[in-house]
Structure formats: structure tokens, C-alpha cells
Amino acid sequence: MEAGPVNGRRGAGPWLLLLPAALVMLIAFALPVGMLLARAFTHPEPGLQNFILLWERPVYLHVLVNTVMIAAAATPVTLILAYPVAHAMAHGSPRTRRLLTFLVLIPFWTSLLVRSFATVILLQRRGPLNTLLVNIGVIDAPLPLIYNLTGVLLGAVQTLLPFVIFPLYSSMRRIDPTLMPAALTMGASPVRAFLRVYLPLSLPGLMTGATLVFISMLGYFVIPALLGGPRQTMVGQLIQDQVGQLGSWGVAGALSFVLLAVTAGLLGLLHRLVGLKAVAR
């Protein structure tokens, strides 16, 4: 948005307008997170004992690796499912675009908790999905769809899809729709035209989407708690337990610190590999 000079103070106006949001972020986000992270080093007494604890008890490292693996598994699944939807939204008729936008937004009408409980009911051993599959003879015995990785991925992917579809859509909208026909007239088969022309041009959207999914997923705790088993315990749940049940803010802070460091490290690596420019553009 372009704002003109306000009261002759060129440029100051727009910056002032950012202040309320900055204040909210400071009070509701930066301060509490900072305090939590600080407690890793100060609670119950100053020192590195919280980090030493994390290192000495294998369960913490195990859960951390688990968390990264689950997030890493959810990311490509979500991207692949989102890609054709975003493509249809970007290059379909206005009617298609309106309909798909509406459908993609429907999940936001209900809370994450309600949706996750609904997913529990749907996926359980004697749930509607298993009953249907058995009755029409696709499977002989009910599939284990819940309290395992499948359950976590199903639940996570459905909540994350909109967050990938929209950035993908906005980057695909900027792709000139005549590029693909142009490539075809030059002798490229549809697959080669896609790989050489369309896919590289949609990379910024893919990277933004991947980043969003991966980071969100690292901090998930409702979905693994409801849809996962003990083997799908994620760092978010541990942090929640430490604070909620054990009151040990120091360990929670240390876990948060490590989670943040891992997130930053992995993002740095990802962007080193694919190029930060792709996301920024």
C-alpha cells in the first residue's frame, strides 16, 4: 500500500501505523517467549542444569527427533495435495476459483479441537471409515488409522492444507498462463513443460508453503495428543506437560529453546539448499 506524506513528515505516517501491531507482538509474543526462554537458564536456579537434564535423559532427544521426522513427513504430503488445488484456483474460471476458495476456508468455521475430535470419531477402529471400507469389501479387517503416524499425518495435513494452498495460489497467479501452451508449441511434452517451466516458477510458493507447514508442525501438540500414540509424542506435548503438570518452567524453557534452535537451523539449511530468494520474491 502506498501512503502519501502525512503532515509533511514523509514516511513517518506508515511507520506509526505499524506501532499498534508491533506493541501487541511485543507484549503478547516477544516478552513471554523471551521470559520462557530465559527461564531455561534461571529456573529454578541460574545455570545450565536444564540443558544437562535434556541431554542426559534419552526420552527428550528421542521426542525431538520424532518431532522433526513427523514434521518432515507432513510437509511433502501437504504440498503434493495442495498443488493441484492451488493450480485449479489460479488458472480455473472465476467460478472455480470462488468455489474452491470457499471449500478451502470451510475448516476455519470450526475450532481445531472440534475438528480433531471429529477426526478421532471418523478414524477409530469401529468408526464410519473403517466400517464403510469393510462393508464394501475393500479390506477384511479394520485398518489402524488412529493412535499412530497415519492418524497424526491425516489430522495434521487437513489442518495445514489451507496454509499451503493460499501461498501456492498467490505465486501461481503470477505465472503467465500462456507459458505452458508456448512450451508445447516448441515441442515440449506436457510433463517436460511442467518440469522445466511451471514447477520452477511455482517454487517460491512451494518454499513458503513448506516453511509454514514445517514450522507449524514442529510446534503441534493437540493433534499428536489426540490422534497419535505414545511413539508420536512431540516436543509441544512435552513442553505442555512440563508446565501444566509438573510446573517445571526451567525444563519447558530449555525444550522451547532447543525447538527454536532446531527450527532456525533447519530453515537456514533449507534456504541454503533452495535459495532464500525463492521465498522472498
Binding site: A182, G187, V197
Partner: protein, 363 residues
């Protein structure tokens, strides 16, 4: 992919037979037939929505016809996807790949054809030199001007020497001065490279400048196909007369025949015109006469009129003439025509023309 099959050089490179394409209830292309000769530059000219782009898409294979046949270099290509037809296409908005340098763009069709690398490098350099951009290969498309981008698109569509080059309003996004420069350049490339070209425009001056032949489209149909002078001098329909060049449309009534010509009453004065239908006496017709074909004299035979305006154009003068019934005609006279130069506003004049230069259309 191999080199273009040359077929019989005397035969057509492209043949359309009764092509039809329907969108819902609208016939976007309606029974279009034509032949494009080897090395010919044929232009589709017509108003917006007349089916020019759709016809080009059908030739390219980017759309499927509902009926009809498309024969390229002697082979039916109706069932072939675009990437198996031996064509090149230039789009109005260039359609350059924004993530590839100019060289990579031009190399793309060669790469798709598996041209050996050294050979491809040589062809790309030659193509860029051909369009006057030998030193721009390492730039990205967005670092070039619109005219330069379209030159790159031309190089990319010609570098693999397709049997047929399709261009859909390639100059439509450029300003006038640039457009005229590139018109001449495309003509030059066409001549030097001996390409067969299908070109689309809705600019009649561009069509007249560039084409060997023009197909005039209206409502999905070809109204007339012929050389620029054929269209201009002998328009087949009233639509063609109005769309190509400037025309006076003058109402009259058929009186009878006079040899090859037709005797017609115009503002009560019997005059001669040519007709393409055998008009019966009493039929109401419309005459089409080009402004530069009207002759003015101060007295004598002809249709009486009053000179209401005189516009000096440098190399010519335009005379606006009003007839007793109130209709206004326009006449164009080259500078140096002594007899008309003395006329003034308000003068009474007589208008005449040669029978061959007035065409009568029904209605």
C-alpha cells in the same frame, strides 16, 4: 522430431478444410477453409471476437476442432498434440520464460528436440544475431524492453525452422513507432528465411503492409481471402469494404444494365457501378466508393453536392461533401490536382467516378 517434411513445394504447406469450433452455442470458428502456400505470408484480419485467435489455436493444436481437417506439410495433424506438430508460435505478450536467460529461452525448443549441444549453441547465436540482439543472451527477459522481448520470442520461434510460423498479434503490446519498425523487420525475416507465416492482427494498415494475402474474418467466417489490392479494390462484401480502408457507402436504386456495368440512380442522377450480383431494376443497393476514387468538378455531369469542409493533409486534401439529401461523402485528392485546388467552402460541385471503382452491394 526431424526436419520439416517439405512435401511438394508447389503444394500448400497448410490446408484447412471446413474447420468448425463451437463454444457453447457460439460458433467461434464457422466452416473455415483455406490454403497457405509455401513461403506465403497470410494474415487473419478481423474485429475483436471474430475467431482469428481460435483458428490459430486450432492450427497449433492448442484447441481441438469440432469438425474439419487440418493438413500440415501434406500430413493430417488433427489428432496430433501441439508438441508433435512442426510449428512455431509467437504470442502477443511474448510468453518468454522469466526464469531463463535469453539464450536458454531460445535454446529451449532445440533442447526439446534433442539437438546436440554444440549445434544448438551455434543456432541460438545465429538466431539472436538474426533479430539484432547478439549481445543480449545472458540477460533475463525482464531486463529487456518490450520490443526486444518480442525479438527474442521471434528468434525462439524460428530457431528450429518449423514448417509454419504462427503469430497472434505479436505487435499488439507495443507502441506505434516500435510496431512499424518491427513490421518491417518481420517482413525482412520472412523474406530472408523463406518461412510460411500465419499472422493475426486487427490493424488493417498492418495487414495491408505485411501480407501476401489477407483473410478477412467476421463472426467466425472468412468473408474474403485475397491479396491486399484485391481486398481493397474489389471487396466481396460490404463488411470487407468497411473494414479494409476507408469507404463511402452511398444508397441508390438499380435502373438497369449497361454492358458489364450496372446503371444506378444516386440522388436522382443515373450513374454507373460494377456489381457482383445481377441486380434487378428497382432493387435498392449500396455503393461502396473509396474517397480517392471520387472526382470533383465545378460543373458538368455527375451527382450535385456542396463542399462543406476542406482539410489540408500535406500530401493530399480531404473534401467533405454534402448531398441534397443530407448525406456526407468524403473525397481525397492528391496534392497538385489543379482543377480541384480552386474550390472553396460552400461551392457547388459535381461528383463522378469510374464504373470499375464503385461496387454495388445488395441492401
Amino acid at each position: 522430431m526431424t526436419l520439416p517434411a517439405m512435401g511438394d513445394p508447389a503444394g500448400p504447406i497448410l490446408e484447412l478444410r471446413g474447420i468448425r469450433k463451437q463454444y457453447g452455442r457460439l460458433a467461434a470458428v464457422d466452416d473455415v477453409s483455406l490454403e497457405l502456400r509455401h513461403g506465403e505470408f497470410l494474415t487473419f484480419l478481423g474485429p475483436s471476437g471474430s475467431g482469428k485467435t481460435t483458428t490459430l489455436m486450432l492450427v497449433a493444436g492448442l484447441q481441438q476442432p469440432d469438425s474439419g481437417r487440418i493438413i500440415l506439410a501434406g500430413k493430417p495433424v488433427d489428432r496430433l498434440p501441439p508438441y508433435k506438430r512442426d510449428i512455431g508460435m509467437v504470442f502477443q505478450h511474448y510468453a518468454l520464460f522469466p526464469h531463463m536467460t535469453v539464450r536458454r529461452n531460445v535454446a529451449f525448443p532445440l533442447e526439446m528436440r534433442g539437438t546436440p549441444r554444440a549445434e544448438a549453441e551455434r543456432l541460438v547465436s545465429a538466431a539472436l544475431a538474426m533479430v539484432g540482439l547478439p549481445d543480449h543472451g545472458d540477460r533475463l527477459p525482464r531486463q529487456l524492453s518490450g520490443g526486444q522481448q518480442q525479438r527474442v520470442a521471434l528468434a525462439r520461434a524460428m530457431v528450429y525452422r518449423p514448417a509454419l510460423l504462427l503469430m497472434d498479434e505479436p505487435l499488439g503490446a507495443l507502441d506505434k513507432a516500435l510496431r512499424e519498425g518491427l513490421q518491417l523487420e518481420i517482413k525482412r525475416l520472412h523474406r530472408e528465411q523463406r518461412m510460411s507465416v500465419l499472422y493475426v492482427t486487427h490493424d488493417q494498415a498492418e495487414a495491408l503492409t505485411m501480407s501476401d494475402r489477407i483473410a478477412v474474418f467476421d463472426e467466425g467466417r472468412i468473408q474474403q481471402i485475397g491479396t491486399p489490392s484485391e481486398l481493397y479494390e474489389r471487396p466481396a462484401t460490404r463488411f470487407v469494404a468497411s473494414f479494409v480502408g476507408e469507404t463511402n457507402f452511398i444508397p441508390g436504386t438499380v435502373l438497369g444494365r449497361d454492358g458489364d456495368a450496372c446503371r444506378i440512380a444516386v440522388a436522382g442522377v443515373p450513374m454507373l457501378a460494377s456489381d457482383r450480383f445481377s441486380a434487378q431494376p428497382g432493387t435498392r443497393v449500396t455503393l461502396a466508393i473509396r474517397p480517392e476514387r471520387l472526382r470533383l468538378s465545378a460543373a458538368g455531369e455527375g451527382v450535385p453536392a456542396e463542399l462543406v469542409d476542406l482539410i489540408y493533409l500535406g500530401n493530399a486534401r480531404r473534401y467533405v461533401l454534402r448531398l441534397p439529401d443530407g448525406t456526407e461523402w468524403s473525397a481525397l485528392l492528391q496534392a497538385g490536382m489543379a482543377d480541384a485546388a480552386t474550390l472553396r467552402h460552400g461551392d457547388a460541385v459535381r461528383l463522378t467516378w469510374e464504373a470499375a471503382h464503385a461496387t454495388a452491394f445488395p441492401g
